[in-house]
Symmetry: none
Subunit: 306 residues, 2 copies
């Protein structure tokens, strides 16, 4: 059962049908998203799972069918020229995306739980004394990143590759994007070079890599999707969600999560900063948010730095 065994029984193919809801971790009425924690049972064993449900964006070309093929719209209110109806379109016009993490660890479950936020002002010294030892102690697995770089997974999703091990990268659509419309275009460039954990490891030697990602990434997106560079927000996260250098390419009009000033760093700014000072990111105080349940916050508290 579940994701791991590759079995051919119905249960193996549908971990969702054996899902027993334990709790709602978080929900967003604005985003039409809900994060669930539950158990998936199989052969008297039971494992935790996180399921993220998200309704599909509307597709312009399906809208007429949606309005036309509807059972009776239900009038909710009417005032002058304004009225509100509820429609219940048929299943084929109503897709829900379910992202399943199974088996899920305690960390996966915590990641999606709503938490109080704290602003951290991390000096270069804080990074070396608190953050770096923490990252190294955690041994976060990035096997899935290496699977992509080594073409062991998702090879068919690659949009562009420059195979150079110093300045090269693989560009592919982010899981968050269904690739049906460019309004919420979202791609990730994953660098071939290993060992660059984050912004903090960047120095002037990485300028050719960064400039190459910026230039070639924009060119590939223009060629593949017809979207020009001045319609893209191109940025890195600090803290990143995984410690292997990657860059986000997102449609400018799309309010993706993680584009806020205390999380996102524009690639063009990163390049400017390193041109100004090759050691900029080892010295700079960087501001970011941590949730109350994150172990790194505890480390900052223990050090009296939060």
């Amino acid at each position: 059962c579940g994701a791991g065994d590759g079995g051919s029984s119905a249960a193996a193919e549908h971990p969702l049908s054996g899902f027993q809801l334990q709790s709602v971790l978080r929900e967003s009425a604005r985003d039409k998203t809900i994060f669930l924690h539950g158990k998936v049972s199989c052969k008297e064993q039971s494992a935790d799972a996180v399921v993220i449900l998200e309704r599909a964006p509307f597709q312009a070309d399906a809208v007429s069918r949606l309005l036309g093929n509807n059972p009776e719209p239900k009038l909710q209110l009417k005032n002058d020229i304004y009225s509100v109806y509820h429609l219940n379109p048929p299943p084929e016009l109503n897709e829900v995306k379910a992202t399943v993490i199974h088996p899920a660890t305690e960390k996966h479950i915590k990641k999606y739980m709503r938490q109080e936020l704290y602003l951290i002002q991390e000096t270069g010294e804080d990074y070396r004394n608190i953050t770096l030892p923490f990252i190294e102690s955690q041994s976060f697995s990035i096997q899935w990143v290496y699977n992509i770089l080594e073409k062991k997974a998702e090879e068919d999703r690659i949009v562009h590759e420059n195979p150079d091990q110093e300045v090269g990268f693989i560009l592919l659509p982010d899981f968050k994007w269904n690739q049906k419309q460019v309004d919420d275009l979202y791609l990730i460039a994953i660098c071939h070079k290993r060992g660059i954990k984050s912004l903090r490891d960047l120095n002037g030697d990485h300028l050719p890599l960064l400039k190459n990602v910026l230039q070639e990434g924009q060119e590939a997106i223009l060629k593949q999707y017809g979207v020009q560079g001045n319609h893209l927000r191109i940025y890195l996260h600090y803290q990143p969600s995984y410690y292997h250098l990657h860059v986000h390419f997102v449609a400018l009009g799309h309010e993706a999560p993680g584009i806020t000033v205390e999380r996102a760093h524009l690639l063009s700014d990163v390049i400017q900063n390193l041109e100004m000072d090759s050691q900029y990111y080892s010295k700079r105080t960087l501001t970011y948010t941590l949730r109350s349940d994150e172990p790194l916050l505890q480390k900052f508290k223990e050090a009296g730095r939060c």
Copy 2:
């Protein structure tokens, strides 16, 4: 037919079924919303209509039904513990809200029309050659700001004041905040000193002012609302919406508009940058977004800089 006549025919009750799509005015993949312009025909007459479709948020108590009562989930991808499925739940679990404006005027249609966004990379030279002359030619009125500073308006809303004309400021709630809960706390610090139009005019001489706003602003908010500095996002906008120096103090968990990386500049970063280089903001290339209908965009286009 339509919303106005109160008739009892089927057409009168369902203007949506006679809706002929003309164009998609705007869509938001994140919000699962789409704004449509179309015609509703009736008795050989035809009137404009705007229809806004929005998918329903998930309801926690319906989620188990949604996962259980599904036809075969379709596996989209699988990598290690992560998998993605598409579900097509039955109509009763898939509501769409349709807001109808009918008959709609030209103004309704324009209101919902999406403006294309452009990313501007404004060099120091661009600022002096394009942006500054544009700002000066517009003579934006900031009389309302002077009214606040001179206590001719909104005096009863002041939360804190330091009356010093060099480093002082007035702190008051932003109009966007209803002051009923601190989750979306939003205050503005308006500096007493005049003539600082934006970030671009700041230099090392302004460090005492900026540090004072940061320190005293946080203290006043802690005293008045019990919210600590590490739960606040404190930033300036570039471009600002008015050209008199002001600083935003917003609850960290509140996703206010204008906190994105290409619009917001953390006050702590501004201070660091000026400490590093007193002339930082007169030289730096600053990135921001302009909508296609903004006159400043036209100036950048005329100068061949966009």
